[in-house]
């Protein structure tokens, strides 16, 4: 097991290094002189020369990359052109908001996806199964920003039950925090719920066909116990792995949800960075998202090994 995990780690670290090279290479996509692009409206020769020196644009590209990577390894992501704050500080402030949103969305996804998937598998071919398929198709096809707009229209504009946007920190008011996160978490969670539902359904169908289920049924085990004690724990192994991977996807999906609901998280940070021509912020967010995504892939492997006794030896 340790060897397997070390092997996975041996793949993840070079991948992260490659990601860092690609993220660094992004600024080479800027048309013309990158110092001019970074300077934005401030086109004085002094500023441009200062930026050239600061970002080492006069140095060869490998030297620029090595200096940039060296800074990252010491936690120095650079300074935001727009806010003049260290990007590391901004990340530390915004990331917890997005992680909270991702956790709540995963909760919504599990609460919706697991039961619907199990019922669809047990009632295969019935109207309930077709309803579940429809839910799966809708979850994958409805843009989450449109769903967000429709929910705002219903619950905020028409009914006035929930705030249309904004974020209340849990330290300020737990109830206010939940109210502000309810719609965003639902919007972000439904797509993942559809994916979890589809996988749970197919995993349960496979599990219910296994010999141990047939044997237990032949021994007279009640259907409810058969499902909950025998089939479900085995069916959940791939679903847990999938759920861990989906957590990384939720961080990415948060970009649009945070924009719709004006939540000051990671996603809004990249959008503000894009429009503020704050390219270092964009690079930092992409790199951090990829790092979280790789960490989640590693944890998914770990979960798979821990839950599957045959791989533990």
């Amino acid at each position: 097991m340790t060897a397997l995990l070390l092997r996975r780690l041996g793949v993840a670290l070079p991948t992260l290094l490659l990601v860092s090279m690609m993220v660094f290479g992004l600024q080479k996509l800027l048309p013309g002189d990158p110092a001019l692009a970074l300077a934005g409206e401030e086109r004085s020769p002094e500023v441009i020369e200062y930026l050239r020196e600061k970002y080492r644009f006069n140095d060869p590209v490998p030297v620029q990359y090595a200096a940039w990577l060296g800074g990252l390894l010491q936690g120095d992501f650079g300074t935001s052109v727009r806010t003049r704050l260290p990007i590391g500080t901004m990340l530390a402030e915004k990331l917890p908001v997005t992680i909270e949103l991702a956790f709540l969305s995963m909760l919504v996804a599990l609460v919706l996806g697991l039961p619907i998937g199990i019922i669809a598998a047990l009632k295969r071919g019935s109207a309930l199964d077709y309803g579940a398929s429809l839910f799966g198709l809708a979850g994958l096809s409805i843009p989450n920003f449109w769903l967000g707009i429709m929910l705002i229209l219903l619950f905020s504009v028409n009914l006035g039950w929930l705030p249309a946007g904004g974020y209340v920190p849990p330290s300020e008011s737990l109830w206010g925090n939940l109210k502000s996160m309810l719609m965003p978490a639902f919007v972000l969670g439904t797509g993942t719920a559809a994916i979890i539902m589809r996988h749970t359904r197919s995993a349960m169908i496979q599990a219910m066909k296994q010999d141990y289920v047939r044997t237990a049924r032949a021994k007279g085990v009640k259907e409810r116990k058969l499902v909950l004690r025998h089939a479900l724990p085995n069916a959940l192994i791939p679903v847990v792995t999938l759920g861990t991977l989906q957590f990384g996807e939720l961080l990415a999906g948060a970009v649009l949800t945070e924009q719709v609901f004006s939540i000051p998280g990671f996603g809004k940070m990249i959008v503000d960075g894009v429009f503020g021509r704050d390219y270092a912020v964009v690079q930092a967010v992409v790199l951090c998202t990829a790092a979280v995504f790789l960490l989640m892939s590693f944890l998914a492997d770990l979960a798979y090994v821990l839950l599957n006794p045959r791989l533990r030896t």
């Binding site: 504009v157 990415a252 990249i270 967010v285």
Partner: protein, 290 residues
């Protein structure tokens, strides 16, 4: 040179595609999906003839008019006909779907085939790059690329295409690995046929079905991604109509003109459902064992 090894491999491929087409016609989801996609394609092509109004011309006397006989879908904040803008918006969405997937396929498939065919160092380098691209979530990478390339529909399509490319590297590589174990590839190699001829004449025709399925499903993702980028202001630039940018404007007028948000969203859902149903149907028809 006509190669004997080509015939046996090409014949089953053609036979399989014929039976695949037959199976496709018996897949209700594929037929519904194809009908939806064809419907929107026709709308996009014949937009100037179908749209009741010019999509970009403001009408200051009809600002935010509710749906009525003159404007079936109502008008927007500048008095423009929402139905006409939804009809013309189909062009940006479908173009983004087709072009970005073409970019992804044209780059991803050759690299995936090279990785699967040559293996060893070539495979390691290409696969690591694909892994690195896959480690960046699709939308975040597309946003970053679109931001650095500059906001426009063309750049959005390139950004989506590059972000979707590693999916095709993976699919093409996996399929090439399977095909390379077949006897006809060994026979072609033993006859001294060149690598390029084997890759294009023997392997490519046999790995196409899963790539077609993946391309169809990726079009659904690309349409959603284009709408997302346009919603963020990184896609089609105003005043040209795009469903995503129409939604961005609409959310500022939710209380006064909710119809502005309704129709572009329903159009996105319809096209994405169409591509998803078609992709699922193609998958069932072309890969019946799945």
């Amino acid at each position: 040179m006509t190669l004997p090894a080509t015939a046996p491999s090409a014949t089953p491929a053609r036979a399989s595609s014929r039976s695949g087409l037959g199976r496709l016609l018996h897949e209700p989801s594929a037929i519904i999906g194809a009908a939806i996609v064809l419907f929107f394609t026709a709308i996009a092509i014949f937009a100037p003839f179908i749209a009741p109004y010019e999509p970009n011309t403001p009408d200051w006397m009809a600002i935010r008019s509710a749906p009525d006989a003159a404007h079936w879908f109502g008008t927007d904040d500048l008095g423009r006909d929402v139905l006409s803008r939804v009809i013309f918006g189909a062009r940006a969405s479908l173009a983004a779907g087709v072009v970005s997937v073409a970019v992804a396929v044209l780059i991803g498939v050759p690299f995936g085939m090279l990785a699967g065919y040559f293996g060893k160092f070539t495979d390691m380098v290409i696969s690591r790059f694909a892994d690195a691209l896959l480690a960046c979530p699709f939308l975040v990478l597309a946003i970053a690329l679109a931001a650095f390339l500059g906001p426009s529909l063309e750049n959005a399509m390139i950004a989506i295409g590059i972000s979707a490319m590693p999916i095709f590297v993976r699919v093409a590589r996996a399929q090439t690995l399977v095909v390379c174990t077949e006897d006809y590839i060994a026979a072609a190699r033993s006859q001294g046929i060149g690598h390029v001829a084997i890759l294009t004449g023997q392997i490519l025709p046999n790995i196409l079905p899963p790539i077609v399925v993946q391309a169809t499903l990726t079009m659904a993702i690309a349409v959603l991604a284009e709408a997302s980028l346009a919603f963020l202001g990184l896609g089609q630039l105003p005043p040209a109509p795009s469903w995503g940018s129409m939604l961005d404007v609409a959310r500022q007028f939710l209380g006064e003109a909710p119809w502005m948000a309704l129709w572009p969203g329903l159009a996105i859902i319809a096209v994405v459902v169409g591509f998803n149903l078609l992709g699922d149907g193609l998958n069932d028809a072309l890969n019946p064992r799945d």
